[in-house]
Symmetry: D2
Subunit: 374 residues, 4 copies
């Protein structure tokens, strides 16, 4: 039982501003006994003027992580561990195992010749390949070979398993999922495949061969799923698309040459609850700050630079991972004057958009640049 | 720093099953220092076999609440309190001030001649009128007069204010909002109206006069908002619709004569994040149990009976409020052999549907009826 | 073979303006032999500055038609005729049996105890009941009883049959169909029901009982058809909706108190290719002229007045039928200073909208009123 | 006035079968005088059992046309002619200047240094480049350079002008439009650009650079138009997409390796009223016959072979154009055992789909192959 109830008072017309009195405290305690409370004691707390994410901006550097991830190969077997993954925990979100907001991320490692058991779940998942040769994934019978910076989906409800070919090398990739959101929404289901492994029932890489024709789709093929039929977005055509687009655009003032991975049948996000984007900062490019309703997990796919998030500077280079929590100002800078820099990101914008919650705001002051906190 | 990491082990193929060893514990602590962790130590916890809502089923009886709600009239002024509301707190969701899941509910009271200050917010809101004469609400300039069992929307982003006419009586209504969800999603904005009060800019009750013509809509009127242009659903035509529908349907085995309040322009939910329904249990009707991904707040609008939720029986009569958490079995029974019983409910199904998460399941055993826990 | 090819010349920059020469005429004839032609000889004809409908405005007065329609009862049997219908032929559209544009209309008569054989077709159909007691229709097993000014759908692809109850009186209704459009699009299929008659498989009038609850829909009932699940729009609630709406609207300057019959699940037109509307002109109301891309068939459901269409005045009273061809100015006037007047109409706006072709334009001059041609 | 009214009789239950009598003929003539008629005299004609297109299958061979098209360069100036185009007239559709159904097609020629005046219209247009160097088109300020087999859109309502660069060669392309449909629907508007020519306001070929990234779209760019933002579909990536898709598909039994050009933001047709497709017949491939509700204009883009349409064989080679009318059986054969053959086509399927009219049917007999009429 609380001893004070008026800690959220605000002296603003239209806001709750009730001082505790002995009589009121008695009343509040009566209410508590009935499983209730007085709204005005918490109204200003639960109706903030603007979002105040509990997540903090943070970076995980690959230099620090790579060895630890590799060590998992020796420490546990895939049979014991299910998947050998080092997850990234936002200091304020450890209880829900989130990297930021309700988004989970981890680094998974597999050795050549290994293949994890097949399963499916309500959580939507994606992978961004960081290093190694021979990785593959099988999503509902569609086997895909995976190379560096390839981006691949394992949408919610699909049976999936991952592995590395016998002749390959240890592979590390970033996993992105919305496990925390599925739990928060009390909507998380999990199933192990009855056969533990699933068959490859389509020609290898058929998804890309079928659905990655720009401006072309197979005639007469219906697709009623809520996620993209294109499961793999290869790096080479992605990088080429950035280059081509860069020739005809000034880019976004906040994000440079910025493209969204999309479901080619809808123009929308690749999955219902997770979207993904790629952006290129041209040599020396420094963007202006804005903030968005949405949580972002970034990985540097190429080059180096820094981002200023909520007034804090984070320097990144290839393979580093950092997060931008909802409604925090962020701006990016390519530190090189000669090379471009590319940032891959995944985010919960599809959730925000589906629920009508997305908004963004540019930083007006100071030429659009945040003062850096010391 | 935890001392044990293997409490979630499951001895099932495809699930994590790693026993703590000194070497592993050292490894886990190293990971923690880097803001990371080993997925296999938490995988079974964060990937449950099915949803396990922290919310509990609970009932708030109007007999217990009414006096306390009325007392708020004496204890605080609208100027101090903003709104005089007693909120309903689910034991496991007090921290987020939710009645169930991420849904907020409270009982608001106003005296004749009072009018609360105007504001708007990201949260979507609804009201279900419980008692009193003369209540009104003004949503973006559309003033609506409110009677018993009327259901009214104040969609997210609309300026709104409520009041009771000079000649009225003290009025109590149930508020339903998704404040907790807006906070959870880091998407909650709040604004007080610059003039504190807003003008009535349309003929009184124009929303119903315009949009409640069954099968008819005003020609040439566009509406691009994501919520229903029909803001008020009056009780009389609602109850008549139930009666008419009852004549030609067997009803749902789980919910009796069950209708959703809808946006007449889309057939969809009344708002993006909150839906509402009304169901009639015919005299003596007892439904079978099912469970759904979704959280429900019920209010008995007419009659009396009981519901069995997760094996627990809750008896209700007019004005009582109870909740059904996600994925818990529930069944309803009208205790009267002569009168019908009506349950109003609001829920987060629009969220579940927008994100592709909705599913339901009937209870197969025992004729579809839950054993009641003692 | 034509003797002159330059009859469509226009002396306007950007338009074709080629004078016949012997050499050119030889060239044109060569082209003709190859199944081709020179675009510039017809370009100005096939690319007019604005639509020039071949249909003409016309009125059919019930006083003239009623006896002839009734005589069909004696002249032919339903078995011989299929349906006893007098169709309305626009002078310029007799070849395609259209009343205006690609819309067909006719007056059908049935005697008590008769029931026409069941069939289905690609054409969408509707009925507006003009007189008589005991009419019914059965659409895919949903039997509906029909009264004066009731509006009922028989959407494309549905099995349907019509009849009049034994105890009824001879009934006349207006049929509206898009038979001419289906033929024009080479998309018309027709089937006779294998049993010649179909069973009533739902409670009588279940469609209205289920789907005509304003702002309410049956929970858990899916509907994936492209037409409204509400098949019958009864006159009484329709007229009430007009009255209610009239209290809060100024109405359209062109159409008075104007409502569209809608699919309650989409807010859209009742069928894919035919829409329907109802409009009320208040006592003495005289609207201003506008023109629209779309063809309209009107029936006066109540009162009397006149419309000016393309500069021609047409006086109408209850049950008279008149048409407005695409892109012709039209305005309406209620001739009574004490009674309201109601016009039912059906039209091809859903086609125009589906193909992105709808536009409208108000008459700017002369206070929005057309000079009347003498 | 007709002398006989019973020529459409059918002796089938449910169909009209009324024999002329003197009394009936008197009645029919009375009806005619009132601008009406008896439905049963025409019902069987206007409600056929299945579509019977007036269009006929026909081929136009480039060998026959090319010289005539080129001669237009000498015979008329662009200023006089507007556009120098030889249109293709289906024998049964000459009155509406259609190649098939309501689709127009023509071969346009331009000399180096020429540029036609800018205009816009309700008709949707496309171009498929047949020969020549240096062609370009400017659509709403987006200039595009055009090469052989490139497919380019000029959607309805866009300002457009075409030309050939000074250093180019005479260029011929196929125009495809729905001018006849726009006229049939009384919806055709035409405007000449106020400046006769329009500026290039975007980087050359920006549409492709922006929107042709497979599975990628520019972030933050909205597009609310009803047509594809990708205006040009270049041949090289199109042919590559066919090759890639061919590696993982058996292809359609009716159409080989068959892809639709699509709006990358919707997965739908490139324009509201005209769609386009490309199909590859592998060496020796012979498809089976089916029929569809929809009209098709084909151009052979590569290789040679033949199609059997409604029992008639049409041999084609590169640049030949032929049509398939609605609901006529058609099958295709690649005559080469070593080379693939590619057919470009445009069609009115978007209209059929928008109105819910599309259906198809395979030929069941004779192994799916039509007997060839002699
Ligand atoms: Fe997984
Ligand atoms: Fe951003
Ligand atoms: Fe509020
Ligand atoms: Fe339920
Ligand atoms: Fe019919
Ligand atoms: Fe009009
Ligand atoms: Fe044009
Ligand atoms: Fe075909």
């Amino acid at each position: 039982m609380a001893s004070t109830y008026d800690q959220y008072r605000e002296d603003v017309a239209g806001r709750a501003n009730v001082t505790d009195t002995p009589e009121l405290i008695r009343y509040y305690r009566e209410l508590e006994e009935l499983g209730t409370g007085a709204l005005w004691t918490v109204a200003n707390k639960i109706e903030p003027w603007e979002p105040a994410s509990p997540s903090v901006p943070i970076i995980w550097r690959y230099n620090d992580l790579r060895d630890r991830v590799m060590r998992a190969l020796e420490l546990v077997t895939p049979e014991q561990a299910g998947r050998r993954v080092v997850y990234l925990a936002n200091p304020a979100r450890q209880d829900v195992v989130a990297a930021v907001g309700w988004l989970y991320s981890g680094l998974q490692v597999m050795a050549p010749g290994e293949c994890a058991s097949s399963h499916r779940h309500s959580a939507s998942a994606l992978r961004f390949i960081m290093e190694g040769e021979g990785a593959f994934t099988n999503v509902d019978g569609h086997k895909m070979t995976l190379g560096r910076n390839d981006f691949v989906l394992t949408p919610n409800g699909t049976w999936h398993e991952h592995g590395v070919a016998e002749g390959g090398t240890p592979c590390i990739w970033q996993d992105g999922l919305d496990i925390p959101l599925m739990n928060a929404l009390d909507a998380n289901f999990y199933e192990v495949h009855p056969d533990l492994n699933q068959a490859v029932t389509y020609p290898v890489d058929d998804s890309t061969a079928t659905w990655a024709g720009a401006g072309l789709r197979p005639a007469g093929q219906d697709w009623s799923k809520r996620y993209s039929p294109l499961f793999k977005y290869e790096w080479e055509p992605t990088y080429e698309a950035l280059q081509r687009y860069a020739r005809v655009t000034d880019g976004s003032p906040y994000d440079g040459v910025h493209m969204d991975y999309m479901n080619p049948l809808t123009g929308g996000a690749v999955m219902s609850t997770i979207g993904a984007s790629i952006q290129m900062l041209r040599p020396g490019e420094r963007t202006r700050a804005h903030r968005e309703v949405g949580n972002f997990v970034y990985q540097c796919a190429k080059g180096s630079g820094y981002s200023i998030i909520n007034g804090q500077r984070f320097d990144w280079q290839e393979r580093d991972i950092f997060v931008v929590p909802s409604w925090m100002f962020h701006e990016h800078c390519n530190a090189s004057e000669s090379e471009d820099a590319c940032l891959f990101s995944f985010h919960d914008l599809p959730v925000m958009r589906a629920l009508g919650l997305y908004r963004q705001e540019a930083l007006a002051e100071n030429g659009g640049h945040q003062p850096i906190a010391v």
